[in-house]
């Protein structure tokens, strides 16, 4: 009998835990309210099923507990009942799936007015690249990466020259403006994840993946790597700061273009060589 009570308690306890425990999602800071809504929808539908079935099991265990004289029912199947259950389940599944697919469609269709930011992941940190004045990110290739050209930009692509390179693990974003993250990794798999933004996508060396968000709240948010990437995975953190236009422009103005950085690196190297030859 204890087991019937415990099963019931587990069902009720789970509900109680949901309502009275302090743990729930981190307050959202992007436009993906739709994701939270689908989670809630799924939560309530599945939660209902869970409690209902647990209660049914508990009832059966109590009501039909073993008695020497009881004879169980002999009923191999019940087509009508089974068909009904299949129909109800199918309806439930459709109710879960349909809104999910709609939100997914939004997630993978980037709005035209989104500006681009490139995120480069490496073991174990984050770098960023902004398209600069021309609004276009220059071409890159992992093979071109070296000390002078840490992002691996294609020197022949003129679009790349004015790209702004951010190498300090801190990215600023504009409030209420859709932004498309172009994601690149140079060594192993990574995943650009900010819990408050909800979005997520793996970064695969040799590929450019993407997703987009619109930040809806000013603040500082931590970047985490969400795809296991080696020993330093847990320490691969960065910072996103959502700003209003004024602060953002101030920050952008401080960033250095690829042209300048490349020249500087080259000079440094020449100096280094000169020193060495002395």
């Amino acid at each position: 009998m204890a087991v019937a009570i415990v099963i019931l308690l587990i069902a009720l306890g789970s509900i109680a835990f949901h309502f009275w425990s302090p743990w729930w999602w981190t307050p959202i800071a992007s436009n993906w309210q739709g994701m939270d809504d689908t989670i809630l929808l799924t939560f309530w539908i599945t939660g209902f099923v869970f409690v209902a079935i647990c209660a049914f099991v508990a009832y059966c265990v109590w009501k039909y507990r073993y008695q020497k004289n009881r004879i169980a029912e002999y009923k191999p199947e019940d087509k009508k009942l089974e068909t009904r259950l299949i129909l109800i389940t199918t309806l439930g599944v459709i109710a879960l799936l349909a809104p999910g697919l709609l939100v997914w469609n939004n997630y993978i269709s980037v709005p035209d007015n989104a500006y681009k930011v490139e995120v480069v992941a490496y073991q174990w940190g984050w770098k960023f690249r902004l398209p600069g004045k021309d609004g276009v990110l220059g071409k890159t290739d992992i093979k071109l990466i070296n000390d002078e050209n840490p992002f691996g930009l294609n020197l022949e692509d003129s679009y790349g020259k004015d790209d702004l390179l951010v190498d300090e693990g801190e990215l600023h974003l504009l409030l209420d403006r859709p932004v498309k993250f172009e994601l690149r990794a140079i060594d192993v798999l990574h995943n650009f994840y900010v819990p408050q933004f909800r979005g997520k996508m793996d970064m695969v060396p040799g590929m450019i993946t993407y997703y987009w968000i619109t930040p809806t709240r000013i603040g500082e948010f931590e970047i985490l790597c969400a795809e296991y990437c080696g020993t330093g995975h847990y320490a691969m953190r960065g910072l996103v700061i959502v700003d209003k236009e004024k602060e953002y422009n101030k920050w952008e103005a401080k960033q250095i273009t690829f042209d300048k950085m490349f020249a500087k690196n080259k000079n440094n190297k020449n100096l280094q060589l000169a020193k060495n030859t002395k």
């Binding site: 981190t26 009923k75 999910g100 697919l101 997630y107 060594d187 793996d202 993946t209 020993t231 995975h233």
Partner: protein, 610 residues
């Protein structure tokens, strides 16, 4: 591909009618004379061939089970160490590299070397010949080699703990490029040994699988049609087919990655800059490996789940003294889930960078597979309805399974639905989900099954009091571990983090939750040692079991001797007259009629036509 198709077609045309036209038998017991000769058996001559290199499927099953459980205990200890590290990072118990190595080995051991080996190698070998009414497997010698290959695979895996660099720490998914680049522990020897071990496992398993398939299809006893097989056999049979079709993907991926690691080929390795150094690789596709891996990996979930489904169906039916509700639907669901499981693999890769349009397709197939799975749950609980439920240990574990599996299955609806997966993937929600659904749930079935069949194996019962303690701690304790873990996932705590140090978005109370989970995990783990003690001590000291102690119908309990002797059936093979679920047949004196009881012995039992 065309070859395979041809063979399949041929196989179909060779199909013998299971239903030859009915004859008007005057004697209701009449069976046609046996057309097939009795199976030839290998008889051992020495101590070595009896106890070590045994060719008896029952013995091989026990060997498989013991090896798997032994390896599983290692997996359990690794999980303790990991949990201690997560809850008490201040202790400095582990290095990050050790933590990741333990994560990897824990995952791989539990999924492949414990659960797959235990369900298919252990229960499959022990139960298939007995339940089908055969003397042994079709190819006993191959069967023996299968076990020894498995043992070598385990030893190779364990040996990786002792090589320079230690075992691989690439995560059980072994994704390239990190699996073989220098930022990952065990990227030299460890990963190679892991891949070699997997290749051995697949080779060994293929030999075993061959046996299960041929035995189930060709070596059943007279009167045993496919639809008279217990669901246990159906589950193991379909899981074996899945394994034979899915393991090749792992083998192919593993071989190609081995070459990438050893010879420097670029199958999966793109051009990369690792730790500031340009590597020689170029052009390979890491995503291709992920496709291969999950083409194996998702059916693998069902390779573990389907035997569990089958076994738990039988346990519930036997201990509720009632036929399994909707037997046909259960068989269809097993076959349907098996078939569908090959079309859902990429739901593990929604955010892996594959073409985002795949998301629509795989989310749909994934949620479709929920329907046959739900049917199974309904039929289990409808079997309880109006039953006569004995709360024996196997039944308790089955009830625990229903609750746990239900919980884990429902959270699967979160992760399968592509949008919901985006915020939750790679968080502790995923960890909680798959531990519930393919960790705890099948393990509860394993326990139920062991309590159920232990008398058949040893002739003695397991200690009931210890069993009850074991059940309560395991069931309630593991729920306490994994249910709160979902909420860490909602918060967004990422998985595979060596240390979740203070982060502005993680409430400090999450750390408290981690401590709670770790304590629960330690207690649940300790309860398993109690179980092992019970297993060992009861083999000698347990209460002597009577014949057919649970009053079950299926053939394995009807052998002339218990435990069954070599060759299972004595001189005369059993004849089967009914399906295995004739419990509480109206009019019958007893509440069970074993499969080999002739109709003349139970003339009073009458079943109305439905």
């Amino acid at each position: 591909m065309s070859d395979e198709y041809e063979h399949k077609l041929e196989a179909k045309s060779d199909y013998v009618s299971d239903a030859s036209s009915g004859t008007s038998a005057s004697d209701i017991d009449k069976l046609p004379p046996a057309e097939l000769p009795d199976q030839e058996l290998y008889h051992s001559h020495s101590w070595w061939t009896t106890y070590v290199f045994s060719q008896d499927a029952k013995y091989i099953g026990v060997q498989y089970a013991c090896t798997a459980i032994g390896t599983g205990i290692l997996g359990l200890v690794l999980s303790w160490l990991m949990r201690l590290q997560i809850a008490f990072p201040g202790l400095g118990l582990l290095e990050p590299s050790a933590y990741y190595q333990f994560v990897t080995m824990h995952g791989m051991i539990m999924v492949i070397y414990l659960l797959t080996a235990l369900f298919l190698g252990g229960f499959g070998n022990f139960l298939i010949p007995l339940m089908c009414g055969s003397r042994d497997m079709a190819f006993p010698y191959v069967n023996m080699v299968s076990y020894w290959m498995f043992l070598v695979a385990v030893l190779v895996l364990l040996s990786s703990f002792f090589v320079p660099g230690g075992p691989t720490g690439a995560g059980w998914t072994l994704y390239p490029p990190q699996a073989i680049t220098s930022g990952t522990p065990g990227h030299n020897m460890g990963i190679i040994l892991m891949l070699v071990s997997l290749v051995l496992f697949v080779a060994g398993f293929t030999m075993g699988g061959l046996n299960y398939i041929v035995t189930v299809l060709q070596l059943r006893t007279r009167g045993m049609t496919l639809m008279r097989l217990p669901l246990t056999v159906w589950g193991i049979f379909v899981a074996t087919i899945l394994a034979l079709l899915a393991f090749p993907a792992l083998l192919v991926g593993g071989l190609m990655m081995t070459l990438d690691g050893l010879l420097g080929t670029s199958f999966f390795m793109p051009a990369i800059v690792s730790m500031g150094e340009q590597l020689k690789y170029e052009g390979g596709s890491p995503i291709l490996f992920q496709h291969l891996f999950w083409f194996f990996g998702h059916p693998e979930v069902y390779i573990v789940a389907l035997p569990a489904f089958g076994i738990v169906s039988d346990l519930i039916s036997i201990h509720a003294r009632k036929n399994i509700f909707g037997y046909r639907m259960m068989v269809w669901a097993i076959v349907g889930i098996g078939a569908l499981s090959f079309f859902v693999w990429a739901h593990h890769m929604y955010v892996a960078g594959m073409n985002p349009w795949f998301g629509f397709f795989f989310a749909t197939t994934t949620l479709i597979i929920a329907v046959p799975t739900a049917i199974k749950v309904y039929n289990w609980i409808l079997t309880l309805w109006r039953g006569n439920i004995q709360l024996s240990l196997p039944m308790l574990f089955s009830l625990g399974f229903i609750v746990t599996f239900l919980n884990g299955g429902l959270t699967g609806l979160f992760l399968g639905n592509v949008t919901v997966d985006v915020p939750l993937s790679d968080t502790y929600f995923v960890v909680a989900h798959f531990h519930m659904v393919m960790g705890i749930a099948p393990v509860l079935v394993v326990f139920g099954a062991i309590y159920h069949w232990y008398p058949l194996i040893t002739g003695r019962m397991l200690n009931e009091t210890l069993g009850k303690i074991h059940f309560w701690i395991t069931f309630v304790g593991s729920y306490a571990i994994y249910f709160p873990m979902h909420y860490q996932g909602f918060i967004g705590v990422p998985r595979r983090y060596f240390e979740i140090y203070d982060s502005p978005y993680i409430e400090t109370s999450t750390m408290g939750l981690n401590v709670f989970i770790t304590v629960a995990a330690l207690i649940v783990g300790a309860a398993q040692l109690l179980f092992i003690y019970n297993l060992i001590s009861s083999a000698r000291l347990g209460k002597k079991a009577e014949k057919n102690p649970w009053k079950a119908n299926s053939l394995e309990w009807q052998t002339p001797e218990m435990p069954p002797a070599h060759g299972n059936w004595g001189k005369e093979m059993p004849k089967v007259y009914r399906w295995p679920y004739d419990y509480s047949v109206p009019g019958a004196k007893e509440d069970y009629i074993p499969q080999n009881v002739a109709p003349s012995a139970v003339t009073e039992a009458k079943v109305e036509k439905s």
